[in-house]
């Protein structure tokens, strides 16, 4: 029994911070690190959050070990050389701890009335960015782009919510942050897509560092845990299913309801408490579906059970987002009552 349990991977957690203020942001970052998270992500949505690279600078100055990442930026609102230069600058301050989480653009793009990046645009950006952060030249538009001082290729994690982006990630990225869901069926479907991409590039699934987005909260009752993250679940529904529902494992009877939620979603209130998007979840009767699919939330027992269910399907690293009035209390409780328990080998059922 012990031997079998030891083959299970250590469950790791990253935490996304939404820089809604920089007052004591550094102190908060320090606590993320001190609580044992493996990854501190900073959201990028210029109209609602403090600027990404300034916030990451504060994070870098206040931590010493934790991996620091954009969760997630996009290829559109900054020129690729600016993005490479900015992350290289933070990489220098942090002593080589940065990663670039990259997606096609969610609220950062929609609040600007702009279309998101295409798959081809993402692929091009990943390649260009890799050269630039390596300090290598890139020929473009008759000019030579180069970030001369950058010496370390900053790893790229593609945020992916559909089979085609997952395949692209498998083919070209260093890692993936899967945003398609956490049910066993969705985890298997996602891993299969990443693996197809990896194989197409002569790689294996194991060559990729795979993380899973989860909307998380812990409280003494399930209801108390879910209430504050309902708006985040609305955001998941809006984002993960926005282009197509094809290949995403959504029951057909829910398609119209998801479309309804998306129609009414207000990007300016993106993941802002009291912003109005939370109400859409019940209005469209999607609560049970969204909780099961995107959340790890409830009592400590609930959370541990949900993580083990995901672990059984092959997901062991979670980037969690939690937008709560007391983030410190949350992160302490999460790491001490949940992370500690799922990593206790003797408790793992065989």
């Amino acid at each position: 029994m012990l031997a079998q349990a030891e083959t299970l991977p250590t469950v790791r957690f990253g935490l996304v911070l939404l820089p809604q203020t920089l007052a004591d942001f550094g102190g908060l970052c320090r606590e993320v690190e001190d609580n044992g998270f493996d990854w501190l992500g900073v959201a990028d949505s210029q109209s609602v959050f403090r600027e990404l690279y300034v916030a990451l600078t504060v994070a870098a100055l206040n931590t010493s070990r934790i991996r620091l990442g954009t969760t997630v930026t996009n290829p559109l609102t900054r020129h690729p050389v600016v993005t490479a230069s900015a992350i290289a600058s933070v990489d220098e301050i942090s002593g080589g701890r940065t990663v670039l989480g990259l997606g096609s653009g969610d609220s950062a793009i929609f609040t600007l009335g702009a279309p998101p990046a295409t798959l081809a645009g993402l692929e091009d950006f990943v390649a260009t960015f890799g050269h630039l952060t390596s300090g290598a030249p890139v020929e473009r538009h008759g000019t030579c782009w180069q970030v001369h001082r950058s010496k370390r290729r900053v790893p790229v994690y593609l945020a992916a919510e559909g089979p085609r982006t997952l395949e692209l990630a498998g083919r070209v990225a260093d890692g993936v942050i899967v945003g398609l869901g956490l049910t066993p069926e969705i985890i298997r479907l996602s891993l299969a897509a990443i693996e197809r991409g990896a194989r197409a590039a002569g790689r294996r699934l194991d060559d990729l560092d795979v993380w899973w987005f989860a909307k998380a909260n812990v409280a003494d009752t399930r209801e108390a845990a879910l209430a504050p993250i309902t708006m985040a679940l609305a955001a998941s529904a809006n984002h993960a299913f926005r282009f197509t529902l094809e290949g995403k494992g959504v029951p057909p009877e829910l398609h119209a309801r998801i479309a309804g939620l998306q129609r009414e979603y207000a990007p300016h209130a993106h993941e802002i408490d009291g912003g109005g998007n939370a109400g859409l979840v019940d209005r469209w009767g999607l609560r049970d579906f969204l909780v099961d699919r995107f959340a790890i939330a409830g009592t400590p027992d609930d959370c541990v059970a949900q993580i083990r269910r995901a672990l059984g399907a092959g997901a062991s690293q979670f980037v969690i987002t939690s937008f709560l009035p007391d983030p410190r209390g949350f992160m302490h409780r999460w790491m001490h009552e949940i992370a500690a328990r799922v990593n206790q080998r003797s408790e793992v059922p065989t």
């Binding site: 809604q20 203020t21 920089l22 007052a23 210029q46 109209s47 609602v48 403090r50 600027e51 690279y53 300034v54 916030a55 990451l56 600078t57 504060v58 100055l61 559109l76 609102t77 900054r78 020129h79 050389v81 600016v82 490479a84 230069s85 900015a86 290289a88 600058s89 933070v90 220098e92 301050i93 929609f110 609040t111 600007l112 009335g113 702009a114 473009r140 538009h141 008759g142 000019t143 782009w145 180069q146 970030v147 001369h148 001082r149 300016h268 802002i272």
Partner: protein, 349 residues
Amino acid sequence: MITPVRVYLRVPGTAPMSELMALLRNVEAAGFDGAGILDSQMLCRDTFVILGQAASHTSRLTLFPAVTNPITRHPAVLASAIQTVEELAPGRVKFVIGTGYTSASTIGRKPATLAEMRSCIATVKSLLAGKTVDWNGTPGRLAYASGRPIPVLMAASGPKAIEVAGEIADGVLLLVGFNTGIVETALEHLERGVRRSGRRLEDLEIVWAVRTATASSLEEARRQARPTAVHWGILRWGGHWVEPAGIRLPKLEIPDAVYKVYPDLSHAHDWEEAIQATSFVPDDVVAQLADALGLIGTPEHCAGRIAEMTKLGVRNLYLMPLQTFVGPESEVNAFRDDVFPRLHAAGLR
């Protein structure tokens, strides 16, 4: 009552971050009023990352990007970035934006047009004021606009750009040169723009960007300034401004060696080689060019020239040491030890 002269210094993000922070502390301790951080994505560390870190490493210094542009970041990101820096350094931030000459050319883009400048500046100002703007039909705003004023300055070097700056911006960073004829002509253009918006020159923050080189002798400072002075006046990089400078130039044959300097005379990697390449220009011509261009000479000479220019109403200086990608340490020391005390004695600090 005499208004004091404010002096800002250009700081390129070419050195490692820790050295940059030490430098900025020295700049503050030396008595400078502010530091402008170059925005040039290939050669310099990110301007907003540096500004963000500088906020916590300084306490008095005014901080600004110098200069950013409407091309490499979306205007919403620009507004977001400067507002975020301002939150870390409340009340001591400016926003300075130009057409993006080198940051555009190095990525194969043309500099922004004046119409693009108008649009970007109007957008950034609205966002910083907490107002709603229109993004392709989507209403947009900056959710965390502090309401504290962040002056938006437009960098300008051509007459038309200066007029636009006078019309739309809170202030202007003038990169034109620095002698009586130039300053008077630039102010005429500025006033034309200012009138269009029903304002007066006094309503505008006018900052003069001046090429700066101090040395222990006037001759050595002018020798050091040769590549920049010749590029400006003889190769006519100074364009429009050589005329109002009132300089009488002899006919000069420009030798090929000048064009072989990489990447060009005033950005030369090998400065001594660039100085050599300008030997076809007589010393007296270089002297005129150097004085028209900026503050080039001994600290005493520079302090004297600043005092002279204040009579024309000059109150804000942005010092640009000659070599763009060499740190400004020697100018920091010269101003701390010599120029600032002289200005103080003259009642200008």
